[in-house]
Amino acid sequence: MSSIAVSPRSIAWQRRRRALAQAWAQYRRHLPGMIGLGVLVVIVAMALLAPVISNHDELRAVNTVDNPTWATPSEFPPLGTDNLGRSVWAQFVWGARISLLVGLAATLIAIVIGSVVGIAAGFYRGVGSAVLMRLTEWFLVIPFLPLAIVLAAILGPSVRNIILVIGITSWPSTARLVRAQVLTLKERLYVERSRALGASNRHLIGRHIFPNVSPIILANLTLTVPIAILSETTLAFLGLGDPTRASWGKMLDEAFRAGALSRNAWWYFLPPGLGIMAVVIAFTLIGSALEEILDPRLRERRK
């Protein structure tokens, strides 16, 4: 008789892969979610192909002295020029990179801090956990924008600092969400059982808690990205962005200061705003689709 070696680990992997395939099958049938994904793919492709579809040199005023200033899209295709003769199209495409980068990286920081704090505060008992919870609640009431402004002013404007600022000001809501989830998970029988069998805390978190909160973390991540991108836009508009790198927020800041409004230079301030809207809507659609599919509580409600 031949015995096939099936390790518990490979079973767990198989189960996870099957769950993933099932989730994807559900996602594919979710129309708003698929629309969001489609829009996002287009924008990411545009950002990645920036060197191919636009000329990086046209971002810097020293290279554009020969260009007309305030040229309309028909005079200087595809999107005209700004007050310094720089190509708006190039700024738009390269700006997408910075906006997406800041949105994703800042979200990653926020999610990591939020998940660690949330799991720790939910899983452990005692003074440390209580302090973490208090801290989360306190940070929840600190108004995000003024804090980010002060931090950005202290740290100085650069892409790295903007990412840091948004990341370390956005974690509390994730922490609260994750903590609540961990608390209910902990009540579940099987955790109690593994604890009775003498499982270590690390094992419990790694095997039981984390795999079960990760879907919620994923959905929360997708819903945090648009908030981070909007924050980047606002900070850049207030002049706290990286002065050397084009982003959608910085385009709006420069357009406003250069008087694009009174000149009616719509080609300068419409594209970045529409770009932000598209990305934010895309992530929001994806996030709520994921939430609906992955969050068992919501899934039941949607019946």
Partner: protein, 322 residues
């Protein structure tokens, strides 16, 4: 509302306020060992100027002494002097608070009313064209940067059509009084208020819609229908009031946040409120002013969080009665 609930919430708010006061100190003086150096980066200061600045901002002496002095002054509502205007920060903030409160108050009122109405229509006509249309509209306004929306409104209604002034709170040089002055101010407030209303309405509509959809699954609505009530009555008397509870709380909480969230919109419309004050203080940068504003904004959030809690306790009999 029970006294226990009330005092618990008030105490928690006071504790949070104490935390914010301390955090404010650390943010500005401990995170960065030498705020003068970092905030005046790029300027050449002589050692004498540096010392003078340090004394002016109360940065001399040990950290402990500074902290005690800071607490004493804050307790007396003394927030220091602005570097830019050399006026007391607190009086400048007090003066600029009213335009912001008026703007945010009006916008919150309208965004709440219209957001809730849109949410009700979308939920009640779920999966119809009305639902898709209104939900799409809400998503769109929710996803726009508020100041960009302001720019669009400004260029269409002020620049192109000339229906509204491009900025400020009164016509420059106007010495109108009484009703005429009020009318002039309302005229100036229209576009920024419209911007903030549209910017926040989407969120309220989406939250109201999902809250009402949740409520509509409740058994007591089936019972209300079985009693022989008309659908409209079931909706207005049983579904909507219950679905409103979380939305009202959200709006109260948001009010605190919007006070500081209007910085960019106030800038666009040169609305002389706390937001514009922040924007100008950033250019300095005006350290005492930023610090004072930060404290006021945080206190506002804490206060309106408390208001939300108390409001909830008042509206929901499950909290109100034993």
């Amino acid at each position: 509302m029970s006294f226990g609930y009330f005092s618990r919430k008030v105490l928690a708010a006071l504790a949070t306020l104490a935390f914010v006061v301390c955090f404010n100190f650390f943010l500005f003086r401990v995170v960065e060992s030498d705020p003068v150096a970092s905030l005046f980066r790029g300027r050449n200061l002589t050692p004498a100027q540096r010392l003078e600045l340090r004394q002016e901002f109360g940065l001399d002496g040990s950290k402990g002494e500074q902290f005690v002095r800071y607490l004493q002054q804050t307790a007396q509502l003394n927030l220091g002097r602005s570097y830019r205007s050399n006026q007391p920060v607190s009086s400048e903030i007090r003066e600029r608070a009213w335009p912001t409160i008026a703007l945010v108050g009006v916008s919150t009122l309208f965004s709440a009313i219209f957001g809730i109405l849109i949410g009700i229509v979308a939920a009640w006509r779920r999966r119809t064209k009305a639902d898709y249309g209104w939900t799409g509209f809400s998503m769109a306004t929710y996803s726009m940067p508020d100041f960009w929306l302001g720019m669009l409104l400004l260029i269409s209604f002020a620049v192109a059509l000339g229906w509204f002034p491009v900025g400020g709170i009164t016509d420059t040089g106007s010495d109108a009084t009484g009703v005429a002055k009020l009318f002039d101010q309302a005229h100036h407030m229209f576009l920024p208020a419209l911007t903030l209303t549209l910017a926040y309405l989407g969120e309220y509509a989406l939250v109201m819609r999902s809250s009402l959809l949740d409520t509509m699954r409740e058994d007591y609505l089936t019972l209300a229908r079985a009693k022989g009530l008309r659908d409209v009555v079931v909706r207005n008397r049983h579904a909507v009031p219950n679905a409103l509870l979380p939305v009202v709380t959200l709006i109260a909480i948001n009010f605190g946040f919007v006070l500081s969230g209007a910085i960019a919109v106030e800038t666009i419309f040169s609305w002389p409120g706390l937001g514009l004050l922040t924007y100008d203080a950033l250019k300095g940068p005006d350290l005492p002013m930023l610090q004072g504003l930060f404290l006021v904004f945080s206190a506002a959030v804490i206060f309106f969080n408390l208001v939300a809690d108390l409001l909830y306790g008042f509206l929901d009999p499950r909290v109100r009665t034993p």
